[in-house]
Amino acid sequence: MNAAHEDPRVTDYALGELSGEELARFEAELAESELLREEVVNVESTLSALRDELGSEPKPRLEAPQRERIALQASQGAARPKRGLRAVAFAAMTVTAAAAGALLFVSTQGRRAEVASVATDKLEGKEKGNVGPRALASAASAQDLPMAGQGQRFNRDAYDAFSDNPFVRVATDPRSTFSIDVDTASYSLVRRHLRDGQLPPKGAVRIEEMINYFTYAYPEPTGDRPFSVSSEVGAAPWAPGHRLLKLGLKGKHVAPTEVPGTNLVFLVDTSGSMSDENKLPLLKQAFSLLVQQLDAVDRVSIVAYAGSAGTVLPPTPGDQKATILGALDRLSSGGSTNGGEGIQLAYELAKQGFVKGGINRVLLATDGDFNVGVTSQSDLVDLVEQKAKTGVFLSVLGFGAGNFNDSTMEKLADKGNGNYAYIDTLNEAKKVLVEQATGTLMTIAKDVKIQIELNPAEVSEFRLIGYENRVLAHQDFNDDKKDAGEIGADHTVTALYEIVPAGGTPTGPGTDPLKYQAPGTPSGKAVRGELATVKLRYKLPAGSESQLMEVVVRDTDARESDDFRFAAAVAELGMLLRDSPHKGSSSYADTVRLASSGELDERRREFVELVRAAERLKR
């Protein structure tokens, strides 16, 4: 035993994995040390013995029919993506099998306008919380290979795997706490996969994002509240006897004239990989749409980054459209990515064009494989958070499929106080950047958390559908330092709970009763008729102290609304695609029936077609 023996660099060296300075240093040491040289010889001989062994071992083979199947498939080549779907109006962009994609995660600075709150309590009378088991469950088995890469480009999108929230017994833990999520990326990702004739990876299917892709008819908030809260209870279509509780939040409407000045910096990835028709050209179109809506009080700058970063357009008033569009048009791709430098430059320009009291935002456009250069991912998050405090927020608009890094983007959006939408088509760009621009750009409440307490007199078990990555510990609800999701103007946010009514059949074996304590005894308020109490905490965009809202949910026998059935259908599709243990009796055919039972607008019709596409591909 000696130091050389324990030096892992010997293995690195023998395997050719040392380079640059490390290699030079090691070789200098090697020249000095006899022991080290001996050790290198030693390791090399072991390696060659291993190589010989692997070379001489009988070679395992596939079975003949397996080989034949591969040969057959190979001769047929890449299956043409099945595109039985409408929305191919942009046929020019569908040249490659990988569909166009863009994602947007937006974190918004709210206006400074004070939205005073009536009927809300200040953060006082903190209640004791405890950590819910679901907080642990959501820590998930995230192991679906982070493919965020510098250099190497895999035709694999990176998604983190996670498990569905389990049923929880009200007797064990009557509460559920989570952060709202206005992201909609998952729906667009799922749509892209299905249009390409593939079932999406399970990790890409986040049910809450699919549900939140659609807007529902929720009441406009009254008084000075930034959003309204409403609820509806009906049958869970996939589980006879179970109920479904639908919670809806609706951000207040802000007229375009009320929107303060906007200072946007487009930070555009112009590396070689962006040259595809569905990346840079689509990106230019998407940004043009945004530029069309700006006027003289607004500012636009453009920074391009590839091998090096450079200013393409200094802060320019929004009414000089020809100048802005011209600069956008001149962007071309080439070189490798160095995002680290570009992002610094972008923040610099954002500072120069800063609109006090307005929306100041860097819009990063990339194909998802954001190479932060010398900075590490965590440094980037730090930078983004730090800049957010100065009033400049970061949005990411990502393009293209194949090496798309969903997990990094979602995490960045989550950490960076943002929302995140994946734009797979020009229509999607219109939805996010034109129709819902105010919601995308303007936050009306931040750190919005929901805590629901179920009444044991009415409910025996419940589970939150989706929001796996957003589950919070119960005590985080009252902790104003704990970050949560934001809601934009006009945004709607929907959450579904599946409920097993009191006296219903248990969903699992459950645990033994406790020896040392009796489970919670119902209080005098646990009266029949009240299903749950929903509490919400939020901060106003410029505030640091949270406000509390409380709503009681009652079950009624009223017929489910169209919106209710549609949201349930979206949840069903999500569960089927995730092959969820809770999918119950659902089937694609049922989902189609359920979704089409109400009025369908264009997006909902598209949904129905997606369900049919999934059915044709089913596992």
Partner: protein
Amino acid sequence: MQDGKSRWVMEALTRYEAALLRYAATLVDRAQAKDVVQETFLELCKAEREAVEGHLAAWLFTVCKHRAVDASRKTQRLRSLEDADVNEAPDSGPIKKLERRQTLSRVGAALEALPEREREALLLKLDGGLSYKEIARIMGLSTSNVGFILHTAIKRIQREIARDSELPVRTAGRTS
């Protein structure tokens, strides 16, 4: 054009079939490994050649790992429903493993006896010819961690061989 693609896939099959099967067998049982590798190549048929070329090996091992993880999750689910041992594959199990090990050479036995993670990393390196960075991605580790695991694996193999032969390992090596 299609012919080119077909030939390319079949060449990849010839070249990586054994390595992938061996690798998959570190993650799932041997019967499943074959399915996993078949699926991997079926995916290759569907992939765009331009997107894969240049890092074919890394692509194949990555997809292979994904499929293996999927397969083992499925098995785990099944096993938790049925009785644990009933589903045991005929060629796993301690006795079979021991029998198989006896037929292997010393080096082969040492390789077989490695902890799962070390064997996985070593196969990716030696059979797959992947870089630390590629291995790190596939195994969800940091690059330095990969180096450390490989180092530990090699040390362990040296100890195994030394113990078996009761002689220290010392072979004339190449110059460095």
